[in-house]
């Protein structure tokens, strides 16, 4: 299951950090952030609840980049 979410982030290095943080989140199989399109593409583990997982992803991302937004 793959889904793409619009994100808000100010700098490219921060986007790379968000990608790292999302990848390490529970329920996420793989993640990729494009600073150019301001999108995050998340591949979920089988059976993972999307909303719960995205909550965790946002929390993890806020830790590395306090001002970031993920629209889900």
């Amino acid at each position: 299951m793959k889904k793409t979410f619009p994100i808000e982030v100010d700098c490219a290095a921060c986007a790379a950090k968000m990608e790292d943080a999302a990848k390490k989140t529970e329920g996420v199989k793989n993640a990729s952030v494009s600073f150019m399109t301001l999108k995050m593409r998340v591949e979920f583990e089988d059976g993972a609840d999307i909303n719960e997982t995205m909550d965790r992803v946002l929390k993890a991302c806020r830790k590395v980049e306090p001002d970031c937004e993920i629209d889900f």
């Binding site: 494009s34 150019m36 590395v64």
Partner: protein
Amino acid sequence: MNRKQKKSLYSILISFVLLIAVFVLDKTHLLPDAVCKILYLIPYGIVGHDVLRKAVLGIKNKEVFDENFLMAVATIGALCLGEFTEAVAVMLFYQIGELFQSIAVGRSRKNISDLMDIRPDYANLLNENGECEEVDPEEVETGSLILCRPGEKVPIDGIVKEGTSSLDTSSLTGESLPRTVRAGDAVISGCINLDGLLKIETTKEFGESTVSKILELVENSSMKKAKAEHFITKFAHYYTPVVCYSALVLGLAVPTLTGIISGSFAYSVWIKRALTFLVISCPCALVVSIPLSFFGGIGGASKKGILVKGANYLEALANTETVVLDKTGTLTEGVFEVTDYLPAEGTGKEELLENAAYAERASGHPIAQSIRKAYGKSIPSSSSEELREIAGKGIKAQRGDGFVLCGNKALLDENGVSFGEPHANGTVVYIALDQKYLGAIVISDRIKKNAKESLSALKNNGVKKTVMLTGDHEVTAEYVAKETGVDEYKAELLPEDKVREVERLLETKSASGKLVFIGDGINDAPVLSRADIGIAMGALGSDAAIEAADVVLMDDDLSKLPLAIRISRKCLRIVKENIVFAIGVKILCLVFAAFGIANMWWAVFADVGVLIIAVLNATRTLHIS
């Protein structure tokens, strides 16, 4: 400018004015020194409060090496050393740089999305009463009737029910010649209706339509990252901590050591140098310019009708060493036509063709169609006359008291017609009337007009070897190979032989070189996936080809292949320029800072100036001549 950028601009302006005011007060000694120093904190706070806030949050979240933290330490350090003007100015310039960056990136984002401005905003849905209603394309169900007026985009794939018009497909294919459509023709979304009113029955939902597929593909392409991007994120990962620890060594260890040796401890000089280090340590210039270059390259390519599915493929294309081409539909048009007449002695060309057309008058076979097209006149026939199609051999048609035979050698042999077999390139159709051999017609696939130039353009763009693979006969393959100038060819291959051939070529190429396979996407899936880069051409409207390939050429213009390689090479060159330039300037500034030549101003340039130049350079990838 968006709201955030405007806010940032205002705080920059206000604090700039305040800084000058305080500076004047300070220098003219109108106020006591201590008061001035406190006053300096006002512009500092206005322009830097966001940085300070994020720095605190960063520490709380154990994210120490982020640029806010670095800027905060550097400027607070400067304040502590009594360098008030410098501290405020550095923060000010840092913010100006951030604003510039944000605007520059925003603009290139917009440029690229303008390039891909094919998304239709609405569809004119016709309801049962024949009334027209403007709706979101996503709401239109398959099989609905929609109206497309001149100047509007076709919103959804469908079939024309009423009307004639020309369509501008340039935003999809890069091809500027309009395409004429009339009732019964399929139209694809994203084209612009130029002059006529079209009533279209949709055959797909919006999400499955060509325009959605293309947009999705281009948007997701930046998710597949190039090696250069991975390199730079990894580099940034180590670069920042290394510079920070060096700053620590520079600010504390060096003055302590030299102090022990010389007896005088010059901490403030070295701490200042260390703070300069911190400002230079931000990695953003590198990290933003590389994906921006690739994104620009992908955007520019899609404007030309070349869809690249990932930055990794765009990067790989630059190192194309071997190009393997399919024959039919790639080097040739894939449209069969009569190319030669070989009438027997005593038979005219007209008589030969007329008899062939007579026999082939009702057949739907491509060969029959090409013969009828060559004949060009209507064919008189009476329905009572027998017409028999002999599978795999040809046609036996009654004509008056006798028969016309039109087919392959086996058909004529079987009917006892003897003749000398001619030598020809292509499919040969033999014709006999009343047991007498009339001659043969050669039908072959036309070689694309630009095939030869495209292949030589490939050679000019670093391709070492071109190979043609085909399932066709040796004679035809040899002919096409000679005419187009491919280096090697292999004929009479089955699909699995093609895969084996590609595998063999993969083994013989150099380690860094890439193998590209290009075909029309039909029956090519295994080879497309086996090659380093699989390119499908003529993919307009073919989902399977879009699915299977790494790069998709929207029309069947072979010259797009050398163009794609050229775009890729240009993009890679810009990426390399940016890497060398950004890393070079930063290291240079670090060295200068260590020796006390570079001050904070240099550091701000090394950080923000480099970033802006790199971003501007990266946007060059958008423009393709």
